[in-house]
């Protein structure tokens, strides 16, 4: 008999595959994210040319050797795009994870402890929610030296609020559940209750929020880089758009310098939105009946087989 852990893993994997097959949106989203993650991980192995290496004329058009053409310094665009994947995906993932960790912690603390702690934490959250994100990020980024780590922290600083709210609401509901009340009644410690009875039930929601946050983080990375607030020493999709924009790729007709990085951002955002929403629905299913719809119930003859 196989060890239970691998058996469980196999069952879990099979359940995931079934779920993916029933949710085409999740499948597409997952495939997109996986593809870009692989590209980010193994990018350097796939990069055909160096990203500081001049291989042809300024804004050289796409050719068999350079399928995405060359940039304003004659560098291979495909290589730049692959290099940019790494930074954009890294910032996207890291920022969303930091924000979900912070937001999850705040949400669980506020929801579980309640009282004035809850009030105070939620007030802070409220203020962060109203303050427009990008301007605040810009202000912080302007006074802080540009680096990838700073970029991650700046984005996470503004992303955690919605997670905190969602998780708090969920924890408030879970707290009243019989199993939690019973655990309390028999005197289980808070840490134990939170870890054994609450966290397992919000994991789905946390995963969904992380996946959804990736899209927002990638978006903000692109925005900050576009405004020249990214690390000038690194290449990201946002920075590629900025360079193309500032160095007149448009008026030079060099569409190849500008379409691919934006398309990559759009695909990652789309992928994470599709997958995140699907996980959210799976973790928190609603009956989802529409009482009014263009379609109505069907009338059918009685099949003989079902007559009894």
């Amino acid at each position: 008999m196989p060890p239970t852990s691998s058996l469980n893993a196999a069952t879990a994997a099979r359940r995931w595959l079934t779920w993916l097959r029933q949710n085409p949106a999740a499948l597409i989203g997952g495939a997109l994210l996986t593809a870009f993650a692989v590209l980010a991980l193994f990018g350097p192995l796939l990069t055909p040319f160096g990203i500081d290496q001049r291989v042809g004329p300024v804004y050289g058009a796409p050719s068999p050797a350079h399928p995405l053409g060359l940039d304003d310094s004659g560098v291979d665009m495909l290589s730049l795009l692959i290099a940019g994947t790494r930074i954009s995906m890294l910032v996207g993932l890291a920022a969303s994870m930091v924000s979900v960790l912070v937001g999850g912690f705040v949400g669980v603390t506020a929801g579980y402890i309640g009282g004035w702690v809850d009030t105070a934490l939620m007030r802070i959250t409220d203020y962060f929610i109203v303050i427009p994100a990008l301007p605040l990020m810009i202000v912080v980024a302007t006074v802080w030296a540009p680096s990838v780590v700073h970029m991650v922290l700046i984005i996470a600083l503004l992303l955690w609020t919605s997670t905190a709210r969602l998780i708090r609401a969920q924890v408030l509901a879970l707290k009243e559940r019989v199993s939690v009340r019973r655990a309390r009644a028999i005197g289980a410690g808070h840490a134990r209750i939170v870890l054994r009875h609450i966290v397992p039930d919000i994991v789905g929601l946390l995963v969904a929020t992380t996946v959804l946050a990736v899209s927002v983080a990638v978006f903000f990375e692109a925005a900050l880089s576009f405004l020249g607030l990214g690390d000038p020493a690194t290449v990201s999709w946002g920075r590629l758009i900025q360079i193309a924009f500032e160095r007149t790729a448009i008026s030079s007709g060099a569409w190849w310098a500008i379409i691919p990085p934006g398309l990559c951002i759009a695909l990652v955002v789309l992928g994470s939105s599709l997958l995140g929403t699907a996980i959210q629905h799976a973790a928190n299913p609603k009956a989802g009946i529409a009482h009014v719809s263009s379609r109505t119930f069907r009338i059918r003859p009685v099949p003989e087989a079902s007559r009894d």
Binding site: Q22, H291, T296, F297, R298, R300, S306, R307, D308
Partner: protein, 328 residues
């Protein structure tokens, strides 16, 4: 035809299926017949999930798009099921109105109560303007509410008041048949009794026919002229309250009464019958009650029992109906 006029509401061989997300189907109603004559009060009872609420939705033509139905529904002699949404709409509220479950948010939260009553009067050309408002005042008075209620919103009302408003709304266009789906769930016993009192009084005063869907057996035996007991999407026994209560021929009915006898308040869902109903997403072979039946026999496994007439107006879907077989 022996009767002078056709029944107000008649359904025959109703089947309803729901599409399931995994591609399967749930056979929720499995050949149900129903007949409601003028001023008749029909009670439909059964455990939750037996199809009683689905039956009521089917009668109103309010099934969701994931459903499909077959059979026949006639309102005042006119076939409506085949005619679809359009055919149902000509009868809704004018001929057949409904009071939904007490636990439901059946009233629009952002529209004043008065408007929710007058809009239906206007829709069906009963009254408009000041006449409609006057009629709305009469209606709420009829159900025992003060007319200031008309200026209120749903959230300002108590559960009992909401159900009275729903009732007033249902009576607005003077329908001939009133459907009530668990009208007192989520109400406390006193309020439930009051609401039921109003329903009972008004059906009598206004000569209404009533279809009362509930899991509350004592209630239907008190209020109704006829009872249909449903199990797993089928009618398993039908008869007068006396037939069903004192001379019940189906083991499920007997167990249902035995179970209620302990609970008595009528507010608890019936849980005291051991076992659970069969899954309706796969074909049911033989008698659906078999796994829980104290008098099951070998032959019950293969053949599904038909409704057997045991006396005039009393029938049961059990192969032992009328044979005086004792429960073991």
């Amino acid at each position: 035809m022996t009767e002078s006029s056709s029944p107000l509401l008649e359904a025959s061989d109703l089947n309803v299926w729901f599409d399931l997300p995994d591609g399967g189907e749930l056979h929720a109603l499995r050949g149900v017949d129903l007949r409601v004559g003028s001023r008749e009060k029909l009670g439909i009872v059964g455990e939750s999930g037996c199809g009683k609420s689905t039956l009521l939705m089917t009668l109103m033509g309010l099934l969701p798009p994931s459903a499909s139905a077959s059979g026949s529904i006639r309102i005042s002699g006119q076939e409506v099921l085949a005619g679809g949404e359009r055919a149902f709409r000509t009868h809704r509220w004018k001929d057949i109105a409904v009071v939904f479950q007490g636990a439901m948010n059946a009233l629009n939260p952002v529209m004043r109560i008065g408007r929710q009553i007058t809009e239906v009067l206007e829709l069906h050309d009963v009254a408009t303007g000041p006449a409609a408002e006057a009629r709305a005042r009469d209606l709420v008075t009829l159900v025992g509410l003060p007319d200031v209620i008309l200026r209120r919103y749903n959230h300002e009302l108590s559960g009992g008041m909401r159900q009275r408003v729903s009732l007033a709304m249902a009576l607005a266009c003077e329908p001939q048949v009133l459907l009530a789906d668990e009208p007192t769930t989520a109400l406390d016993v006193m309020v439930a009794a009051q609401v039921l009192g109003v329903i009972d009084r008004l059906t009598r005063e206004l000569d209404l026919a009533l279809v009362l869907v509930t899991h509350d057996l004592p209630l239907v035996t008190r209020t109704c002229d006829r009872i249909q007991v449903m199990y797993a999407g089928k009618v398993v026994e039908t008869g007068t309250p006396a037939d069903v209560y004192h001379r019940s021929e189906h083991p499920y009915t007997r167990l249902l009464f035995a179970a209620t006898a302990d609970v008595h308040s009528g507010r608890e869902e019936l849980v005291s019958i051991a076992g659970s109903p069969p899954r309706l997403d796969e074909p049911v072979a033989g008698c659906a009650f078999l796994p829980r039946c104290p008098m099951a026999r070998e032959e019950c496994m293969t053949e599904a029992p038909q409704l057997l007439q045991v006396a005039s107006g009393h029938a049961a879907a059990c192969r032992f109906a009328g044979q005086k077989v004792r429960m073991s």
